[in-house]
């Protein structure tokens, strides 16, 4: 592989080259685009590269060689559930019978697609213990926003306009408070206890009739199960609020317990985490939102329903919280997730959580002498170290992350959650074998040893990657975000 390849596609450009082929324009002159008034046309064309088709293939193949994915190696990025992405999912997602379907095709011409949507929604409802799902939101954060809109609408439709606060844990992912802000809600932070779970005593005084609800994830972002959840649910419901579940951590409990049974009223699922759809270098994913019985009408429009004859149709509900997407979500991603669920089947879905949790505990227990484990005990699908156990080396979490790249691993999530200064958040997922984990453990121990013996080696890592540490300060101070800016 040619990792030193360093051209931009623009730098391959040569006037006169082209990579496309289109049919001839055989229409009469009176239909020519030249008839469009000049005042509506641009003066100079966009400067796009002039390259051949082959240039494009080779260029992007070379770029791919400078990338690391789950297919490349172990990717223990906490909170992101980087499990294996089966190829059959993508094969199904690309089937022309779905890929060539226009979203405004009438329902009778899209019965297969609507059935996929309907049945996937039903499967997610069963898996999470809620009554109904929308698959329209495009990602986890989009699901959060949708869920909060539902929460807000629920109160408003009951004539309760003063509930404008949302309680968020201090260990919550940044999107939780951000989604609340975008939904026009005020954020109140609840503290966590030393063991990382929500402090019920700190929560109680926050609960009053201005509270719309609480956002939690369980297990929380530290990988700790919130055992007080029944009590928290009781308290929040008693005060008239609703409980929102951030499904980013659903993989931990898949098959073992369900958010609906824990007392949650609304939740999202990241299909690109728990349900194995590829992360695509940052997306697309999909963020289905589920609600408990009684809230179904509030799901965003459009809604997919089935009539008495078993025909599927697209409906809208006046009570709906609104529209959050153009159509019915990232539909191809839905196909991919549905394929995964059907491949696992009822007998295997329930093994996902237990095996993911087993892998996490195995890694945690194997490394807790070398790395500082602030919260001991059985974790769920992930856990957090607060840097090295030996605090005298001056080697930071960032250094450790960079050194891992040299050894062929993607780094864990670092500096999140923000509860600790040197967070290293590790999530192995259930699809990694004991052998892979053993190798990783060995390398983590080796890095810890290097930190003591040759700290500078770690501090200056990586060495073996396509590029080494980057000057991020200059990038931010003098931003160059396009080729045009780069050339001047």
């Amino acid at each position: 592989m040619i990792r030193n390849y360093d051209k931009l596609i623009f730098e391959l450009s040569k006037e006169g080259r082209s990579g496309y082929s289109l049919p001839k324009n055989e229409y009469a002159a009176e239909h020519c685009i030249c008839g469009l008034p000049a005042a509506l046309k641009r003066e100079t064309g966009p400067e796009l590269p002039e390259v051949t088709e082959f240039d494009v293939v080779r260029h992007y193949t070379n770029l791919s060689n400078k990338n690391f994915g789950v297919d490349t190696g172990f990717y223990p990025l906490g909170s992101c559930t980087m499990k294996y992405n089966p190829r059959i999912n993508e094969e199904i997602a690309a089937m022309p019978a779905f890929a060539a379907l226009h979203p405004d095709a009438p329902a009778e011409a899209a019965q297969g697609a609507l059935e996929v949507y309907y049945n996937l929604a039903a499967s997610l409802a069963e898996i999470s213990g809620l009554a109904a799902f929308t698959l329209n939101p495009y990602a986890g954060a989009h699901g959060e926003l949708t869920g909060l809109m539902i929460m807000r609408s629920y109160h408003l439709q009951r004539g309760d306009a003063k509930r404008t606060k949302v309680i968020v844990s201090d260990s919550a992912h940044g999107t939780n408070p951000a989604s609340a802000a975008v939904c026009g809600l005020e954020i109140v932070e609840v503290k966590s206890k030393a063991d990382g779970t929500v402090d019920v005593e700190d929560l109680k005084p926050l609960l009053d009739d201005t509270v719309a609800g609480i956002m939690m994830t369980n297990p929380n972002t530290l990988g700790i199960f919130e055992t007080d959840i029944p009590e928290i649910a009781r308290l929040v419901h008693e005060c008239g609020g609703l409980l929102y579940y951030d499904g980013a951590n659903l993989n931990a409990v898949l098959g073992k317990c369900r958010p609906g049974d824990m007392g949650f009223d609304i939740m999202h699922i990241n299909l690109h985490k728990t349900f194995s759809t590829p992360h695509g270098g940052g997306g697309p994913g999909d963020g289905p939102v589920g609600v408990r019985a009684g809230l179904e009408a509030l799901l965003p429009n459009p809604q997919v329903k089935r009539d008495e004859r078993g025909m599927f149709y697209i409906d809208t509900d006046d009570k709906s919280a609104g529209y959050v997407s153009g159509f019915l979500g990232n539909f191809a991603v839905l196909l991919s997730a549905y394929t995964y669920i059907l491949t696992l089947g009822r007998e295997n879905v329930k093994l996902v959580g237990p095996l993911a949790v087993l892998n996490a505990n195995y890694v945690k227990e194997s490394l807790k002498d070398e790395y500082y484990l602030p919260i001991d005990g059985v974790c769920k699908h992930e856990f957090v170290f607060d840097g090295l156990a030996d605090k005298s080396t001056g080697v930071t979490t960032l250094d450790i992350a960079k050194r891992l790249l040299d050894y062929g691993y993607h780094a864990p999530t670092i500096y999140f959650p923000q509860l600790f200064h040197q967070s290293i958040m590790i999530e192995p997922t259930e699809t990694e074998s004991k052998e892979t984990l053993d190798e990783f453990i060995k390398v983590m121990k080796l890095v810890a040893k290097e930190a003591v013996e040759t700290p500078d080696v770690v501090k200056n890592a990586p060495y073996n990657t396509p590029v080494r540490r980057l000057d991020e300060t200059t990038a931010a101070r003098f931003p160059k975000t396009t080729y045009r800016q780069l050339r001047v």
Partner: protein, 438 residues
């Protein structure tokens, strides 16, 4: 199960390292009443053979129709080289490029994507992608309000796609932002109405479309000055494929350009995934949501790319965030980047030219049938509205019976019809023939 590598022996050894005796011990702290103790009501596991048959059967329940529908999603040509390259595991199975040293592939294509989107729109900067055109426009609305600080009103032209409008209106409602509609007049934005609504000096932004929902290319001469004189930002929701030919948002004087880049070859896929784009002038970059990639160098002086200006982002700003977007549509950004590379300026122009000619030919031929007439006398691009003599639904049914998706019904007697470079003259003639025989 083929996705689980654990042998019984592995499980035993791993449990023992973790100091546990059984798999149940992994969940010992969970209150009993929360444990899920029955079988899931789901089908049994399917083999790959069964999966393929299962989805084949489902696929056959969809009709394969020759597509003349647009209304925001069009049936464009996608070069064959895109799918195999974007499916490479190194692209497909990576996540957000948090570790730039091993993510230069992703970071560089985002940089190229940003460069090309800026070329098309004429804007200075864009982010790494939004979910789709509807949410990108909602984010543009939020940018306006955030930049204007005290103003909490935006104007939204009735010629903007209703699917975009309803998402903008939903977001605005929860934010306490007032959305006022600018009237449509003969298929285009009523500029007098816009001017009147700007007069209160309380408008943060004005959202317009190009081409508009009816396929009409609007003349926005003077509109930017009108907005700026009232300290309102001008937002243009524009179709990127058409920008190879049309005056760019920047040339019209827009401050923000946004929309859906599905028209750059992305399969229709029953609504997604597509990719929203959001671009703006340098003056507003600090309020631009989402991720941005910038060029820099590594310690050895090698050129490299990195996520930059991150202080704007939700993981830093938390409750002060203007946007909550985290995962985006990165792979689809790669899709359109490859598309624009293969097509180049000339290919894009030629695709526009074919679509334009086809649409104008179809419009003329349809009018000649006497069964419908062009609804507006305005310059259009590759999409147009016809008024039908019989109910539009009847026209669509007749076409569907012959394997054609004839467009999108936008009123009882109005049909929005779209032609792309994928439609042949023969297909267009067949469309006309069917309408003539109704």
């Amino acid at each position: 199960m083929k996705y689980f590598p654990h042998t019984q022996q592995d499980i035993e050894q791993m449990l023992s390292v973790a100091g546990l005796r059984s798999m149940d011990d992994l969940f010992a702290e969970i209150p009993q009443q929360l444990l899920f103790n029955r079988e899931f009501d789901l089908p049994e596991a399917m083999s790959e053979v069964e999966i393929r048959k299962f989805f084949d059967t489902l696929g056959k329940k969809n009709s394969q129709l020759v597509c003349f529908a647009g209304a925001g999603v069009e049936d464009h040509y996608a070069p064959s080289v895109i799918a195999p390259v974007i499916s490479r595991g190194e692209f497909l199975t990576a996540y957000t490029p948090y570790q730039p040293e091993i993510s230069q592939g992703t970071l560089q294509y985002i940089f190229e994507y940003q460069s090309m989107i800026c070329e098309l729109t004429g804007m200075d900067v864009t982010n790494a992608s939004m979910y789709d055109g509807t949410t990108a426009t909602a984010e543009a609305m939020m940018m306006c309000v955030s930049i204007a600080k005290k103003r909490r009103k935006v104007l939204l032209s009735e010629t903007v796609n209703p699917k975009v409008r309803r998402v903008v209106e939903t977001y605005a409602r929860y934010q306490g932002v007032t959305v006022e509609r600018i009237a449509e007049k003969e298929g285009v934005t009523d500029i007098a109405d816009l001017e009147a609504k700007l007069a209160g000096d309380d408008v943060a932004g004005v959202i317009l479309a190009q081409p508009n929902f009816y396929g009409i290319v609007e003349d926005y001469s003077g509109v930017a000055d009108m907005c700026h004189a009232r300290k309102a930002l001008m937002v243009m929701n524009a179709k990127p494929s058409a920008l190879a030919v049309l005056k760019s948002p920047a040339e019209w004087g827009a401050d923000i350009a946004c929309g859906d880049a599905q028209s750059l070859g992305i399969p229709m896929c029953y609504g997604g995934p597509y990719v929203g784009y959001l671009a703006c002038t340098n003056a507003n970059v600090r309020k631009l949501p989402g991720r941005i990639v910038g060029a820099t160098t590594d310690v050895d002086g090698k050129r490299a790319f990195v996520l930059t200006l991150q202080a704007r982002e939700q993981h830093i700003r938390r409750e002060k965030a203007n946007s909550n977007i985290c995962s985006n549509q990165s792979l689809m950004a790669l899709f359109v980047t490859m598309y624009m590379s293969v097509m180049g300026k000339k290919g894009l122009e030629e695709a526009c030219s074919l679509s334009y000619s086809g649409a104008h030919y179809l419009a003329e031929q349809l009018a000649a049938t006497g069964k419908c007439s062009l609804a507006f006398d305005k310059p259009f691009f590759n999409e147009f509205v016809v008024r039908t003599a019989v109910p539009a639904e009847k026209v669509l049914e007749a076409l569907r019976a012959d394997g054609i998706l004839g467009g999108v019904r936008i009123a009882d007697d109005m049909l929005l019809v779209c032609v792309t470079e994928q439609r042949t003259k023969a297909e267009i003639d067949r469309f006309v023939e069917i309408v003539r025989n109704i």
